[in-house]
């Protein structure tokens, strides 16, 4: 029951927000309600997770039922989603003051979190697919919120890549429905060798199609093209959740497919695994490279997302418990860190209007605290101990070495390392230039605009702070998370 509430309360609230047109005049009520719903959602999700259980939503046909069920992976993602949403939401109440069509933004923002909760709690592949499609469609207005030509173009790109990916995945769903009938998520998979006798090749193809298809949302090569276009044009809070959370929807979908439907056994050692690994590593490397060369701040973060989510995918592709733990941890860490980065970017944009890296010199004079939190997050993402990124990367690397995948298992850590260096290369300059603008920097512009010492508004600064500190703390005390991830890994592998 609680999970139904967790799914439908925000959706209904979002619809209400969209439908009630006089809310516009009462900004206070609007933002108040908005924050309240987000908070309630976080609470509901946590309560639902604690309650557990399953529920059937609807019998579509005799063979297709839609249902929700709470399990560990879903819980992890749901909690993560709702918390991130809450923090980014708080940030947005301040950020969106400077934007048009606030109400629409809030409406869709609420709907998306409900849909994501549904996605995380889905009990079977088809339900998940339903929510997956809904997520694409309802998050679209967030992407093209600005309504500039660029934004619309980006929105369409986002839509078509996502839909293309979804239909690739749909092929797999159709195939699996055809061979096994039952698509309930079961740890370790439901596909047995005798089901697919004679169709092994097709099964592998279907799985690969699903990985690539769902990988679209996670920005995996070759369908990553939308991400650097779409994330930066959205308003910053939306970029934060798009990058931090919605990309993880692709991740959970792949987890569900590989570990809960097909089963790791079926693809271990096949071409699918290797292809997947290669794709993930390629993405990792390529994303970092592109981020390194990118001059626009939000785009740089977006490329970083491309690279970082593929860390997760690489971990999953190893089909190995340690790597799996690393992947799950990295899901959480990256979520937190990337949210922090994008929210920081939003704060900078609102305060200064600067978008390009070279403009950010002397940022430390304007918002030293915010920049400090940024530094924390950046260090965590690079993987400097004891910040969080280090933990996950450690697990990923050891898992990779232990996975028994031959040369790729060794190449993997190398690439992770190179990528970490690149990460440092593209994140640290902002911090360095911010605090140490150099001798020749006179800070003329900052003084003229009277920006000196103007930290972001509290509604922005607090979430950034929480996230920045969390990215450090999670690294210092990773124990519970790792234990949890381990239990999941034991279940599925």
């Amino acid at each position: 029951m609680l999970m139904l509430l967790a799914v439908f309360v925000p959706i209904l609230a979002g619809v209400l927000v969209l439908a009630l047109k006089n809310l516009k005049e009462n900004r206070g009520v609007l933002t108040g309600c908005f924050t309240a719903v987000l908070a309630a959602e976080a609470v509901l999700v946590i309560l639902a997770v604690m309650g557990g259980g399953s529920v059937t939503l609807w019998k579509l046909t005799d063979t297709i039922t839609l249902g929700l069920k709470i399990d560990k992976v879903g819980s992890l993602f749901a909690v993560l989603t709702s918390v991130m949403w809450l923090l980014a939401g708080i940030h947005s109440t301040s950020y969106m003051k400077h934007e048009h069509d606030e109400q629409r933004f809030y409406g869709f923002y609420l709907i998306v979190v409900g849909v994501l909760a549904g996605l995380d709690f889905s009990a079977d592949l088809i339900t998940m697919y339903v929510f997956y499609e809904m997520m694409t469609l309802t998050s679209l207005p967030l992407v093209l919120h600005e309504l500039t030509k660029e934004a619309i173009h980006a929105g369409l790109k986002y839509l078509f890549y996502s839909v293309a990916g979804a239909f690739l995945a749909l092929f797999g769903i159709f195939f699996l429905a055809n061979v096994c009938g039952n698509l309930q998520f079961t740890a370790g998979g439901v596909v047995t060798p005798d089901m697919i006798a004679g169709k092994e090749g097709l099964l592998l193809f279907a799985v690969f199609a699903m990985i690539v298809g769902f990988g679209t949302k996670a920005g995996m090569f070759p369908l990553h093209g939308w991400l650097p276009t779409a994330h930066p044009v959205a308003p910053a809070p939306a970029s934060a959740v798009l990058s931090g959370v919605i990309t993880k929807a692709g991740v959970i979908a792949i987890i569900r497919v590989v570990y809960f439907i097909v089963g790791p056994v079926m693809i271990r050692g096949t071409w699918v695994q290797y292809a997947w690994m290669v794709l993930a590593l390629l993405t990792v490397f390529m994303g970092s490279m592109l981020a390194y060369r990118e001059k626009v701040m939000k785009k740089r973060f977006a490329y970083s997302t491309v690279s970082q989510v593929s860390y997760v995918l690489f971990g999953l592709s190893l089909l190995e418990p340690t790597a799996f733990v690393g992947a799950l941890c990295h899901v959480v860490f990256h979520s937190v860190i990337k949210d922090a980065l994008f929210l920081f970017a939003g704060a900078v944009i609102v305060r200064t209007g600067w978008t390009r890296i070279e403009q950010l010199r002397g940022l430390g004079r304007i918002m030293p605290k915010a920049l400090a939190f940024y530094t924390l997050a950046a260090l965590a993402l690079i993987g400097i101990p004891p910040a969080s990124g280090f933990v996950s990367k450690w697990y990923l690397a050891t898992g990779s070495l232990a996975s028994g995948t031959g040369a790729l298992g060794f190449i993997g850590p190398v690439i992770l390392l190179i990528s970490a260096l690149l990460t440092a290369g593209y994140l640290l300059p902002i911090m360095i230039q911010g605090y140490f603008p150099g001798q020749d920097f006179d800070g003329q512009e900052i003084k003229e605009r009277g920006l000196e010492g103007k930290e972001p508004e509290p509604a922005m600064l607090v979430p950034i702070g929480i996230l920045g500190i969390a990215s450090l703390l999670l690294g210092c005390f990773p124990g519970p998370l790792i234990a949890f991830a381990r239990s999941v890994a034991e279940m599925v592998l």
Binding site: A19, L60, V163, A164
Partner: protein, 555 residues
């Protein structure tokens, strides 16, 4: 009693149409058009109720009703069976709504009696196709369909319309001419001496076995022949051209009645004449299937390229019709079920989309997609419905389109698996088909959603300025919510928006009047169609039960 009802539902609209033609001048000179419309609507409604009564009372199965003997064993005969019931029921559900819609649409047109005369006649003829008990009767009504719909295509009387109608005619007649070959062959190889439809086929197995390749060739000829009306590549070209016709025609006839008659005829020919056991696994099956797949790919790609809204939808119809043909060419009970599901689902989706396009044209006289920027805020209900039908066409779950796609693909995968397992050459084609359908779904997403996005999210500075922002919130509400609730709220929003913008908005060039949602005559059908899309999408079980019965019989 029921026999006479069958005759009545076919003849009543035809006779009524003739009467309208005869009294054309009195109606127009006496300005009795309103009366005529009411009478027409009542008649169509009564006819639909009669169809309903017929289907319910007979349970979808009636006896043979021989009307007259054409020549030799060729009798004109009606017989209601389940598949015919599905088609007849579909048509009779849509017709009153479409008629209602066309009153508003045709409001400012002259020559309305003529339009409604042929429109109503087409109803009867389409029911004739549905109720036909044997091939010759179906062929008869199939040909008649060409001729009664021709004036409707020609209706705008422009050069373009004349060209389109000529092409329509040539293609249809040509197709029928090749279908005729099939007819003659069936007559010669029939096991029962007549051309009556028999679930599972009626060819004389011994005789047919001797000339298997010849018969397969004939099947392919007839498949393409009947397929012309279902716009199969390379005989699809008439359909996009025919979209010059008034929208009610394009919507009802060129998305449902006429083209579905073609698909229906193919289904009849495949499952009730040849029988799938004869065709399955032969080159003829692969030929038919390949043609359908090429059409799907081609149609959806062309739809993306097309910038004229109605023609885009027409290309979409081209590709979607071939979904049905693809289902037909799978030649298993599941394939038939899939084809019929899509036949029903696509009818609602496409008529809804076309009616939206018609509403847009009617309210704003805009026909090209790039002109639609921001219209979604002015015509929220219309564009919501358009979005819904677009999503359904894409095959998003919870919409009707998903169900049909699901059934089709399951059928394709099952048969593909069997064919590969049995080592039949060409067994991979159904798998290719799955890929093609998914590709087409992606293209559908592109060509349908770009329109909706343009309408709801105009690029800044593209179309509207201040006025639009006022109603934006309310507008986008209808962009995402289930229709029924949105109608009232966004209706208000639109009026509020219109009131606001009348003072402040800067009108774009050539915009004669402020656009708004059309009157209830247009909206009611639209909303009903959207509801039907959801009903089928969410609760398809009753429909599927019936279709499974058909599949069980005909497989």
């Amino acid at each position: 009693m029921y026999d006479s009802l069958m005759t009545a539902v076919v003849l009543l609209p035809i006779i009524f149409g003739f009467l309208l033609l005869i009294f054309n001048n009195p109606i127009r000179s006496g300005h009795h058009e309103r009366t005529m419309e009411i009478v027409t609507e009542c008649l169509v409604l009564v006819n639909s109720l009669m169809v309903a009564a017929l289907i319910i009372s007979t349970g979808g199965r009636s006896g043979n009703l021989v009307l007259f003997r054409l020549y030799g064993q060729l009798t004109v005969m009606f017989k209601l069976d389940l598949m015919g019931s599905v088609f007849a029921g579909l048509v009779s559900f849509l017709w009153p709504l479409a008629t209602l819609y066309s009153f508003e649409y045709m409001k400012n047109e002259s020559r309305r009696p003529m339009f409604f005369a042929f429109y109503t006649m087409t109803y009867g003829v389409t029911l004739g196709v549905a109720l036909a008990g044997n091939l010759i009767t179906m062929y008869l009504f199939y040909e008649m369909l060409t001729f009664v719909t021709l004036p409707l295509v020609l209706y705008p009387m422009t050069r373009e319309a004349a060209r389109a109608s000529r092409q329509y005619l040539y293609y249809s007649i040509g197709g029928a001419a090749f279908a005729f070959i099939g007819l003659v062959f069936v007559l010669s190889y029939s096991a029962i001496g007549t051309t009556e439809f028999v679930a599972g086929g009626m060819l004389n197995p011994e005789l047919a076995g001797q000339h298997k390749n010849l018969l397969l060739l004939v099947y392919v000829l007839a498949f393409f022949g009947f397929g012309v009306k279902a716009a199969i590549f390379p005989f699809h070209d008439w359909l996009p051209k025919a979209s010059v016709a008034p929208t009610p025609v394009t919507a009802l006839l060129h998305a449902v009645a006429v083209v579905k008659s073609g698909a229906f005829a193919v289904l009849r020919f495949t499952y009730f004449i040849y029988g799938t056991s004869f065709l399955r696994g032969t080159w003829a099956q692969w030929a038919a299937m390949t043609a359908a797949l090429v059409t799907i790919t081609f149609g959806s790609t062309m739809a993306v390229k097309e910038i004229h809204l109605k023609r885009r939808l027409a290309y979409s119809t081209v590709s979607n019709l071939s979904y049905i043909l693809f289902g037909a060419s799978i030649m298993t009970p599941l394939g038939l079920i899939g084809a019929l599901t899509h036949l029903v689902a696509h009818a609602f989706m496409k008529i809804c989309a076309f009616f939206c396009a018609g509403a847009i044209m009617h309210q704003t006289e805009k026909t090209y997609i790039h002109q639609l920027d921001g219209l979604g805020r002015k015509m929220p209900v219309t564009f919501t419905c358009f979005l819904m039908s677009g999503l359904s066409l894409m095959g998003i779950p919870l919409f009707a389109g998903f169900i049909s796609k699901w059934n089709l693909i399951q059928a394709a995968l099952s048969w593909g698996g069997d064919a590969v397992a049995a080592g039949i050459p060409g067994g991979f084609i159904p798998y290719v088909g799955v890929g093609v359908i998914l590709y087409s779904a992606l293209m559908t997403g592109i060509y349908m959603l770009t329109v909706a996005i343009r309408a709801f999210f105009p690029a800044v500075g593209a179309a509207l300025s201040s006025g639009s922002a006022v109603s934006a919130g309310a507008v986008s509400s209808s962009g995402s919510t289930v229709s029924a609730g949105a109608v009232s709220s966004s209706g208000n929003a639109a009026s509020a928006g219109a009131a606001q913008s009348s003072g402040t908005s800067v009108r774009t060039e050539g915009e004669e009047r402020e656009a708004s949602d059309p009157s209830w005559l247009m909206l009611v059908p639209l909303v009903i169609f959207v509801i039907m899309i959801f009903v089928i999408g969410l609760h398809p079980e009753p429909l599927l039960k019936i279709l499974e019965m058909i599949g069980g019989e005909a497989g």
